[in-house]
């Protein structure tokens, strides 16, 4: 299914600028939400840009739109502010990917919707 403009543009603050939210109890939500657990409210928070790999895998085949990058590494990353998210890990020798690897966020093209559709950008991580 092709990603169309409204669905793409709505997530730009998160994909380009890592805009998250932090609740009174200090938990970070990325993306920000309409409702937080326990009825808490949250303030804007920008994610830390560096962190470490918590767990990872190397895909031999990915979805069609990502197949040119295969084999590629995916990681769940814990950023230095405690927030966690999922990202592709690139510019790395796949044999060196490991839990605990220090990484930083980099702006990359995530996918192209065919030859004629949108170019979709966002965050990946690279070894720091």
């Amino acid at each position: 299914m092709k990603i169309r403009s409204p669905r793409y543009a709505r997530e730009i603050p998160q994909r380009y600028r890592y805009e998250a939210a932090k609740t009174e109890s200090g938990k970070i939500f990325f993306p920000p939400r309409l409702v937080y657990p326990g009825g808490e409210t949250a303030q804007p928070h920008t994610l830390a840009q560096t962190g470490q790999v918590l767990t990872w895998t190397i895909l031999t085949t990915g979805p069609a739109e990502y197949s040119d990058l295969a084999p590629y590494a995916m990681a769940i990353v814990e950023l230095d502010d405690g927030a966690r998210t999922t990202a592709m890990l690139v510019d790395v020798d796949l044999a060196t990917v490991k839990t605990g690897l220090r990484v930083r966020i980099e702006f990359r093209k995530i996918r192209s919707e065919g030859h004629e559709g949108l170019l979709c950008y966002g965050y990946k991580v690279v070894p720091d």
């Binding site: 730009i12 600028r17 592709m88 093209k109 170019l119 950008y121």
Partner: protein
């Protein structure tokens, strides 16, 4: 108006490389001949997830770090490239949005073959000087293509350089600018064509040298300066040979041109070429150093700048990745097959 100049600078070079031999082997060409003739050994290659926009964002973030300002302070952002990812839809707005500069940021995409980067710098500098904006961003970035088997395939590479201009916290003042343009059809690409055309040997004296030397002589005359007054000179560098020849013809000793000379290992980053060369100079420059920069864009024209480095340079050089380490370290070499796949040179199914 008081001084205006560079407040921050940043560079981004992708990690992938391909050696000239790998390209020559596929086309049955004489690698050594090309290496000698072009003075070029290898070039950078963008990954499938990299383009003019992604490299511009990273280079700009580094420039903002050195400038010590946040993106919302930018009043304008211009991206010069001949490989904007969209034919219609600006690269500039993606970059401005990513930097947090929107919505109050005048944004434009520029093109003028390899000169589009210094064009962006020229326009942004002018807006600051005129007092229209407080800070502005000018970027030169490209992921240009050379037609398979053509001479340009050995050199067309990828990279980005970004400059923040302002009137405060200057690390290098802009003392003089000069522009030299003519209609000279040495290299072009028609709409809907995938690869550019070029005039072969016509791209040399009638194009590159005429405009580079024309702009250089023009700015030297305007400023009353001579090669001895400069610590560094950087030219547009489509191959390793032309910029050194230009230096020689203008009377600059080789040592002054070497620091900004990246093409032998980087390839020709088109709109990023002289801007990236300048970042390599700024990475090691000392207060008081004077720099001459002359770009060249086919079609044709050259922008010239004279900069004087200020004390603040020493505070910012280490704040972001330098250019030479990005060029020399952590390289990943590709074979021609992977290179062709990354550069979209292989016919695929639609969809």
């Amino acid at each position: 108006m008081s001084e205006v100049g560079i407040v921050g600078y940043g560079s981004y070079i992708p990690r992938f490389r391909i050696k000239l031999e790998s390209i020559a082997a596929v086309w049955g060409a004489d690698a050594e001949n090309y290496k000698r003739g072009l003075q070029l050994f290898e070039k950078s290659v963008p990954g499938p997830d990299q383009d003019t926009i992604t490299m511009s964002v990273e280079a700009a973030r580094r420039a903002l770090k050195r400038a010590g300002i946040t993106g919302d302070k930018l009043g304008a952002a211009y991206i010069g490239s001949e490989s904007h990812p969209y034919a219609v839809k600006p690269s500039g707005t993606v970059v401005s949005e990513a930097l947090g500069a929107t919505p109050e940021c005048h944004t434009a995409d520029l093109e003028f073959a390899c000169k589009a980067g210094t064009e962006a710098m020229f326009l942004v500098y002018s807006q600051v000087k005129a007092g229209v904006i407080e800070y502005g961003l000018g970027i030169g970035a490209d992921t240009s293509q050379g037609a398979p088997g053509d001479a340009l395939e050995y050199s067309a590479s990828a990279g980005a350089a970004a400059y923040v201009f302002g009137a405060k916290n200057i690390l290098a003042t802009v003392d003089y600018t000069y522009a030299y343009m003519t209609d000279t059809p040495d290299f072009w690409r028609r709409e809907h064509q995938y690869y550019p055309q070029h005039g072969g040997r016509y791209t040399g004296d009638p194009a590159y040298f005429k405009h580079t030397l024309g702009a250089a002589n023009g700015i030297l005359e305007k400023s009353g300066m001579k090669p001895e007054d400069f610590a560094y000179v950087v030219f547009h560098q489509p191959n390793g040979k032309f910029p050194m020849e230009a230096a020689k013809r203008l009377g600059f000793p080789r040592e002054k041109a070497v620091t900004g000379w990246l093409t032998p290992w980087l390839g020709n980053t088109y709109s990023g070429a002289s801007p990236l060369g300048l970042t390599a100079i700024l990475d090691v420059a000392k207060p008081g150093d004077r720099i001459l920069m002359v770009s060249f864009g086919s079609g044709a024209g050259s922008d010239a700048f004279i900069y004087t480095v200020k004390d603040r340079i020493l505070e910012v050089q280490d704040l972001a990745p330098k250019t030479r380490p990005q060029l020399d370290e952590n390289k990943v070499y590709l074979d021609y097959g992977r290179y062709a796949k990354f550069r979209g040179k292989i016919i695929r199914n639609e969809g």
